[in-house]
């Protein structure tokens, strides 16, 4: 019995030593989600520009005494940006699932359930071997978690291949995306200038309107700058996945990679 206990203790210590920390993986999922926001920037900005261009166009018609529409239809968006938006949504969902699959709370709940079962064996059934059962159960839980982490990494390895294909796509489409954003901005600016000219003629709060439109244009210029970082966003995700999936997988290095990229996006927006 003494030998059995010693073996159980040794197994328990060994497993505790190689227990898995989920936290870096969860943080990695969070950083992935933020990085994806950059990929979605172009489609989001274009959709807003289309809406504002439509409103400004009708406002211009109204101020010029021409027929106008309230709540009219908005020009259809480009398939290219819709495709990118679809990928961004799928990547966000993947990042969320990654966070949930590695959530430390889930693992803690599992360990608590195991402890609860063992204490019930000792207290309710007065089972003498409850401590040994506890050690075995703890071992099973740790091994099952190790297996789950491996499965998660296998999913991430598959995603890496998709990210590499996405990098090719985004690189090829970068110029076209920028052209689409410039075109959408020009359409809005044309109608915005018409509204400004007409309101200057009528003298109705033209200064306030000018400031408002000026702020809108500045915001879109910042969004366009952010959208131009889409390729860097995908490349950062690839570098981060590579660091995590390497032979000696380093979650912290992957996380640092994504955080560096997010900082660079913030700096670019401020300049």
């Amino acid at each position: 019995m003494k030998n059995t206990c010693a073996t159980f203790m040794a197994v328990s210590l060994f497993l505790s030593a190689c227990s898995i920390s989920q936290e870096p993986l969860t943080k990695f999922g969070e950083a992935t989600e933020k990085t994806v926001g950059v990929l979605a920037a172009a489609s989001k900005a274009e959709a807003e520009m289309r809406l504002d261009a439509s409103v400004a166009h009708q406002s211009c018609n109204y101020l010029q005494g021409q027929p106008f529409t309230l709540g009219g239809s908005i020009q259809k968006g480009s398939d290219l940006l819709k495709g990118q938006a679809g990928v961004a949504r799928a990547l966000t969902a993947y990042a969320k699932a990654l966070q949930e699959a590695t959530d430390a709370e889930g693992v803690k709940a599992l360990q608590e359930a195991g402890d609860g079962f063992v204490s019930s064996l000792a207290e309710d059934l007065e089972l003498a071997a409850a401590p040994e059962v506890g050690v075995v159960l703890n071992a099973v839980i740790l091994l099952s978690e190790a297996q789950r982490i491996r499965e998660i990494k296998m999913v991430m390895a598959r995603v890496q291949a998709s990210l590499l294909a996405l990098e090719v796509r985004v690189k090829e489409d970068a110029q076209e995306v920028d052209r689409l954003l410039i075109a959408a901005q020009s359409r809005w600016e044309q109608s915005a200038r018409c509204v400004l000219s007409a309101s200057r003629r009528t003298g109705s709060s033209s200064d306030g309107l000018f400031r408002e439109y000026d702020a809108v244009k500045r915001q879109w210029q910042a969004e366009r700058k952010k959208a131009s970082q889409a390729l860097n966003a995908v490349s950062s995700l690839i570098a981060a996945h590579a660091a995590v999936l390497a032979d000696d997988g380093d979650f912290d290095a992957g996380l640092a990679n994504l955080n560096n990229f997010l900082e660079s996006v913030e700096t670019a927006k401020e300049n």
Binding site: R89, A97, L125, R148, E151, M156, Q160, L164, D247
Partner: protein, 104 residues
């Protein structure tokens, strides 16, 4: 499948190292930088081939692949939850059994 994962890990190791060099080339000559770029491209192509993903994949295809990955991660989470629920049920059963045994 495990062999493919092993190969993927090795490619990712090499890729991770080369990407670091690419970001901070230090005192590399232009020819050396070009060689690093070529190696990175070759590794990326090799990796996509390993998983049968085409570099010409459309956004819709990539979206589909990512959705499958998300579903697989959700399945992993569900398996943990199922395991936890089994332990909770087992605890409840042990409690009931204890009460019954005390009555006998």
């Amino acid at each position: 499948m495990p062999n493919r994962f092993k190969a993927a890990q090795r490619i990712n190791s090499a890729l991770s190292d080369l990407l670091k060099v690419q970001t901070e080339p230090g005192h590399l000559s232009e020819a050396e930088k070009a060689e690093v770029d070529r190696s990175v491209d070759a590794l990326k192509a090799e990796y996509m081939a390993l998983y049968g993903v085409l570099s010409s994949a459309s956004y819709a295809e990539i979206t589909g692949q990512l959705t499958t990955a998300k579903e697989d991660l959700e399945k992993i989470k569900r398996e943990r939850d199922r395991f936890k629920n089994s332990l909770v049920k087992a605890r409840s059963l042990a409690k009931t059994l204890g009460l019954v045994l005390r009555l006998i």
